[in-house]
Amino acid sequence: MDNTTYRHSVSIGNDNVNCNNVTNSHNNTVNNILADENPEIMKWLSPLDSRGKHHDVRTDRVDGVGNWLLETNEFREWRSNGGGADKAVLFCSGNPGVGKTHLR
C-alpha cells in the first residue's frame, strides 16, 4: 500500500479548513486544480460557497456525537455501494434541533 497524501475535492480554495492534506494509506488523490488556481471561475460557477459553513459546523461539533449513524448497516451499505444504484440515496430525517447537521 502506498503512503500518499490524500486530498479531497471537498476542500475547495486555498485554505485548509476541511479535509485537505489528510494522509491516507491508500493512493486516493483527488486534487481540485480548478479551486486552487481559478477563484474567478469558482465565483462564476456559483456565488454560493459551502466552505465557510462546513468550517463552522466542524468547529461546533463535539467529537463522538452522532457516531452511531456510521455504525448502522444502512450507512455502511450506502457508503460501500453495497445496495447498488437502487440504494444510492440516504436520507437522514429528523425534527429541528435533533443534530442532523452535526452528525459525525
Binding site: 475547495i12 486516493n28 462564476w44 459551502s50
Partner: protein
C-alpha cells in the same frame, strides 16, 4: 459524516461535494447555484476542466459575463462525475430550500445519478421533505434521526468543561444537568412521524 467520508479508508479515489441549505439564503439558493457549487467541488481533471475554463473565457468576453444555465451546468456535472470512480454528494437541510428550487434540484441530482454508478447522495432534512425525496428516488433509504441520551450527555459534558462561569457550578447542579436534560430531550422526540412511505425505514 463528511469528515468520516474524508478520513475513512477507501480503495478508490473519493470526491466529496457538500452543500448546506439555509432558509436565510433561500433566494440565492436556486437549483442552478446549488448545482454550480457542487460542480466546482467536483471539477478536478480532464476534458471537463478544460470545458469549464473555455466556457468561462467565452462568457467573460460576452456582455455582462453571462453565467451558465442549469442544462449547461448539468452537462458539466455529469461529465465531472463520470471522471471520478466514487463521488459523495451531501446536502444538508433540504427543507430549507424553497419548494420550486427543491424540486428542480432533486430532478437534477436524479439525472446525475443515472449517469454514474459510483455516485452516492446523502440528504438531511425535516420529515416533510421525505415525500419529495421518495418521489424522485424510489429506492432511497431513510434513517430517522433523534437525539440519543449518550450523545446529549457527551455534548453536555463538553459544554460544561468549557463553561466560563465555573465558579457558579456545583457538583450537585452538574449532576442534575447531566441527569435531567438527557431525559427531557430524549422524551421530546419519541413520537417522530414516519413520512416516507415508499422508503425503507431503519428501526
Amino acid at each position: 459524516m463528511i469528515d468520516d467520508l474524508c478520513d475513512g479508508p477507501c480503495e478508490k479515489e473519493v470526491a466529496i461535494a457538500m452543500f448546506y441549505c439555509d432558509f436565510r439564503d433561500q433566494r440565492e439558493q436556486t437549483a442552478t447555484n446549488i448545482v454550480g457549487d457542487i460542480l466546482k467541488q467536483l471539477v478536478v481533471r480532464g476534458k471537463v476542466l478544460e470545458d469549464v475554463q473555455k466556457a468561462f473565457q467565452k462568457a467573460k468576453s460576452e456582455v455582462g459575463g453571462r453565467g451558465l444555465r442549469l442544462p449547461d451546468m448539468m452537462q458539466m456535472l455529469k461529465q465531472a462525475v463520470a471522471t471520478l470512480p466514487q463521488v459523495f454528494i451531501c446536502i444538508d437541510a433540504l427543507d430549507e430550500c424553497l419548494p420550486k428550487h427543491l424540486l428542480e434540484l432533486l430532478a437534477s441530482l436524479k439525472d446525475t445519478l443515472q449517469g454514474s454508478r459510483g455516485t452516492r447522495i446523502f440528504f438531511t432534512g425535516r420529515p416533510q421533505v421525505g415525500a419529495e425525496i421518495a418521489r424522485y428516488f424510489t429506492g432511497s433509504v431513510l434513517v430517522p434521526i433523534s437525539p440519543k441520551a449518550h450523545d446529549i450527555e457527551r455534548y453536555l459534558k463538553k459544554k460544561l468543561e468549557m463553561d466560563t462561569e465555573s465558579d457558579a457550578m456545583s457538583d450537585t447542579l452538574r449532576a442534575d444537568i447531566l441527569r435531567v436534560i438527557p431525559q427531557r430531550i430524549s422524551g421530546m422526540y419519541v413520537a417522530e412521524p414516519a413520512v416516507l412511505t415508499s422508503c425503507k425505514i431503519l428501526h
